[in-house]
């Protein structure tokens, strides 16, 4: 089993609903976030291109954050989801520095926090909160080992890219282009 997410940059309007949905679902404190939206513009007026991306932890298969964690708090859960065991985390922040995607933050309660792919919802058969909320339905989630999962289906028919592939972390967030 290999959980992954695909985000359709052609449909994303950058509304940030994914950010609020995550914030309320996971009680992320105000001023922090587990996911965020990026907007990139290229060109000069009027020859322009724009890309919107909803970004979060890439749940890398080769995660520097898991490797560098001195206590084992950062670990792989089933399906390759990268998690932080808050009770084992000493808040040293090594993982924050190691992450090429800047996906982690120090929670005011003293541990490092990040996207969990809403593992508590997946267990109940629900989609991650961001995916379920997105008004443009631009996010696809599921198991890459299951050829019938929404993420497998969409990656079969669309061009995609990953972010900072040169970091060699084997990221599991795919951006449809």
């Amino acid at each position: 089993m290999r959980y992954a997410m695909a985000i359709d940059t052609r449909k994303c309007v950058g509304c940030s609903d994914c950010v609020v949905a995550c914030q309320t679902e996971n009680n992320v404190p105000i001023g922090y976030c587990r996911d965020w939206v990026v907007e990139v513009t290229d060109g000069t007026y009027p020859q322009l291109e724009l890309e919107n991306r909803s970004e979060r932890c890439n749940h890398c298969a080769n995660s520097p954050c898991v490797r560098c964690c001195p206590t084992g708090a950062s670990h792989y859960a089933d399906g390759g989801i990268v998690l932080v065991a808050h009770n084992k985390c000493i808040g040293c922040g090594a993982c924050i520095t190691s992450c090429p995607y800047d996906a982690r933050y120090s929670h005011p309660d003293g541990y490092v926090d990040k996207c969990t792919f809403c593992i508590h919802r997946i267990k109940k058969g629900l989609e991650p909160a961001c995916v379920a909320a997105c008004p443009t339905k631009c996010m696809y989630f599921g198991d890459l080992d299951d050829p019938k999962s929404p993420v497998s289906e969409v990656l079969k028919v669309r061009k995609y890219k990953t972010l900072i592939p040169e970091a060699g972390t084997d990221p599991q967030l795919y951006f449809l282009i």
Binding site: V13, C33, Y45, G93, S106, P135
Partner: protein
């Protein structure tokens, strides 16, 4: 060509502390392998139905509470046609409105001069007695018709009934003359029907969506944005006309970077091409429309080459985009837009768009415009409302006859005494609308307020307008109250229930309670003869074959259509509600009122040297000025920015991220500085900013002083002579690097 890259992280990560804590939620194992679903499962007792009040789209959803019984999150109701189970960021951020510690908490009565914001706390009894006494006095001295209700929100129904029972017919929503009014008049005069809300655009099945300055995706009109996304999936062509490279423009096959204020020339050129090339729907035009020959003559000279000189758009681009529309017809939508009060000839511009839709045969066709249906919710029986002796119309004899709703700015004008008028308004009840930000030229609004004998403001938050009230009544938020049954039109008729998820915080009350109590004190209790709101809602719902109990369980109930008439049937004979019974390309109603029966292009004033046209719009995470203090939404966007083209910024030496002040053509400088966003996404002749920021009320602890207010800079209003709309895009700004002297000194 040089390439520029503009990278923005819309919502940034905060930096947290490093204190060690033992709290954690442990490890998750045992992942389920069942297929994933978007929404919560089965019936859940921890959730209550609502429909959203953060904007006018009114999406229906579920409010969830946590184990402590506190409001936790809000998600969409799968049965709801407005949201399809998915809320927008503002709706998802609804709990931020409930938890806002800056909320109005108890009734307030003013103790010092208006605007000084000095109030004393009062009991509900005292505050309502005060209002009832004043209203009676005004009725005796001036007549009850000298009172007006200005409203935007669900409470409007109850306060509307109250003011009608009192004897006034002046109920205005700024959503008409400050927003969508011109388009409604244009569609009424053309098709005999308005566009309505939610818009009857069949975006889901369209093959070509044409947006004229409408920035879908940035204006998060949920259902429309969802359908635009579906249309993109199905390969629909999007054509966007906008001087700014909007999000919609970035998803378009054709972006037409038009010179601002020249849209009508482009529309007429498109009409010219479609007629001259015979790309119009001949059968539809012959069968259903009136005035084709006059139209053809009218646009004869309006070639793409003619429009090029006006719009700066290449003739080839105009032709190609017209062909694209024709290829898709009738599954094509020239989107009527929503906020269309721009230049004062807005009804005419909207008419040109309506005419294009008619030529392409999209009205009444799949992928064009569908015929919506509404559930008629019966009213609780009450005595007939008295006939008002005068209305707002008497203040404008012979004017705005085609406006079928009240003009909020007209109420404002008719409050400032004039010798020519018998009726000046003496009291305003203002519910859920921050008039100082919604009606342009706030100076004039204040002038009107100074003439009032009574200003009652009913709101959930302290806003600029509450500072000027005589009495402030704190309404509880939509998450704490029942409201009217939502009966908005859609593809299928449907109703939705809003019920309290929790008891109201503080000493706040729902609108229905406030209106009923006030009615009792004003001797109008017979108009509100129900004992409890539950009794009334249950009675209404039972007439519709449902019940309060059922609606509390399901939230949304969808009915089958009465007839199979979502679209016109092939060969169907149609009669339209116009003078000729046809779709009027040539408008007999406009001709009868002395206006151009066919739309004409008139040049608009251009910015003087060193000035730039002020354009404004929406951001998806905020609604008007009402969400700026919502902690969840402020986290996404806490201030607006002035978008400036890099060439312009270079001339002025303005750096990206630098704070500057904007000053308009009348010497009005923004109260607060605004961050410069130097970006290629804006034309060199205009400046863009998101509406709703620059709050001056210090009681808004998160929003005060953040960003600049466009409303403050809109001092020049271009009034639409047809329906009184307030065109707001004729203002020009320049850049300043310090505040005005008096502000700097204070």
């Amino acid at each position: 060509m040089t390439s520029r890259r503009d990278f923005i992280r819309i919502s940034g990560l905060g930096v947290g502390g490093l204190a060690v804590s033992a709290t954690g939620y442990g490890l998750y194992r045992d992942l389920a392998k069942s297929p994933l679903k978007g929404s919560e499962l089965s019936v859940d007792t921890t959730r209550t139905p609502t429909y959203c009040e953060i904007c006018f789209w009114k999406c229906a959803g579920w409010v969830y509470k946590n184990e402590e019984g506190k409001i936790w999150k809000i998600i969409g109701n799968d049965e709801d046609q407005h949201s399809n189970g998915r809320f927008c960021p503002r709706g998802t951020g609804g709990p931020g409105m409930y938890f806002d510690e800056d909320r109005l908490k108890t009734p307030l009565i003013r103790t010092e001069a208006r605007g000084k914001q000095v109030f004393r706390e009062a009991s509900w009894d005292e505050a309502l007695d005060f209002i009832a006494e004043k209203m009676k006095g005004i009725a005796e001295e001036h007549g009850p018709e000298c009172t007006a209700l200005l409203t935007h929100g669900s409470g409007g129904k109850y306060f509307g009934d109250l003011i009608k029972a009192f004897g006034s017919g002046s109920i205005a929503a700024p959503s008409y003359a400050q927003c969508r009014g011109p388009r409604e008049v244009a569609y009424y005069t053309t098709f005999g029907e308005g566009v309505g809300s939610p818009e009857r655009t069949d975006i889901r099945d369209t093959k070509c969506l044409v947006l004229i300055g409408s920035h879908l995706g940035e204006n998060m009109h949920n259902g429309q944005v969802q359908e635009m996304s579906d249309a993109i999936d199905k390969g629909a062509v999007i054509i966007t006309v906008d001087p700014r490279f909007s999000i919609a423009a970035s998803k378009s096959k054709y972006w037409l970077p038009i010179k601002p204020a020249t849209d009508l020339a482009l529309l007429l050129a498109w009409i010219h091409v479609i007629i001259e090339e015979e790309w119009y729907d001949k059968e539809y035009v012959a069968k259903y429309t009136f005035g084709f020959e006059q139209l053809k003559d009218h646009v004869k000279q309006m070639t793409p080459e003619w429009a090029y000189g006006i719009t700066t758009l290449a003739p080839d681009l105009i032709r190609k985009s017209a062909k694209e529309m024709a290829n898709a017809a009738p599954a094509v939508i020239i989107h009527p837009g929503r906020h269309v009060t721009w230049y004062g000839d807005d009804t005419q511009r909207s008419r040109a768009m309506a005419i294009l839709n008619a030529l392409l045969g999209s009205w009444g066709r799949r992928g064009g415009f569908y015929n919506p249906e509404t559930v008629a919710v019966p009213s609780w029986p009450h005595p007939p409302f008295p006939e008002p002796k005068r209305t707002w119309r008497d203040a404008f004899p012979g004017q705005y006859n085609l406006a079928y709703e009240t003009i909020a700015s007209g109420i404002c004008d008719a409050t400032i005494p004039a010798l020519s008028r018998a009726c000046n308004f003496k009291a305003w009840i203002v519910n859920g609308t921050n008039l100082l930000k919604t009606i342009p030229n706030s100076k004039k609004v204040l002038e009107a307020i100074h003439e009032l004998e009574l200003l009652v403001v009913i709101d959930t938050m302290p806003m600029e307008i509450t500072g000027w009230a005589d009495v402030v009544l704190p309404e509880c938020t939509y998450l704490e109250r029942y409201d009217t049954i939502r009966d908005s039109p859609h593809r299928k008729p449907a109703i939705a229930l809003r019920m309290p998820a929790t008891e109201p915080l503080y000493n706040t009350k729902p609108a229905y309670w406030i209106a009923k109590e006030l009615a009792n004190k004003m001797g109008l209790g017979e108009y509100f003869s129900w004992n409890t709101i539950e009794e009334m809602l249950d009675w209404q719902l039972k007439q519709l074959g449902s019940s309060l109990e059922e609606m509390q369980r399901i939230g949304v109930k969808t009915f089958e259509r009465s007839y199979d008439d979502l679209y016109f049937q092939p060969e169907q004979e149609m009669e339209f509600d116009t003078n000729t019974g046809k779709i009027e390309l040539y408008s007999t109603a406009l001709a009868a009122e002395g206006f151009d029966p066919l739309p004409k292009y008139t040049p608009h004033e251009e910015p003087p040297q060193g000035f730039y046209r002020l354009n404004y719009g929406r951001a998806p995470m905020h609604t008007f000025s009402r969400t700026a203090n919502n902690a969840l939404l402020k986290d996404l966007m806490e201030e607006n920015a002035a978008w400036i083209n890099p060439k312009v910024a270079g001339e002025w030496g303005i750096k990206n991220g630098q704070y500057i002040w904007l000053e308009n053509q009348d010497g009005v400088r923004s109260s607060f500085p605004i961050k410069a966003r130097v970006t290629e996404r804006i034309r060199w002749d205009s400046v863009f900013m998101v509406h709703g920021f620059g709050h001056t009320n210090k009681k808004l602890s998160r929003a005060y002083g953040k960003g600049a207010s466009d409303s403050e800079l809109i001092t020049k209003v271009l009034t639409d002579p047809i329906m009184g709309g307030t065109g707001m895009r004729g203002n020009f700004v320049t850049f300043k690097f310090e505040p005005k002297e008096e502000e700097a000194a204070s």
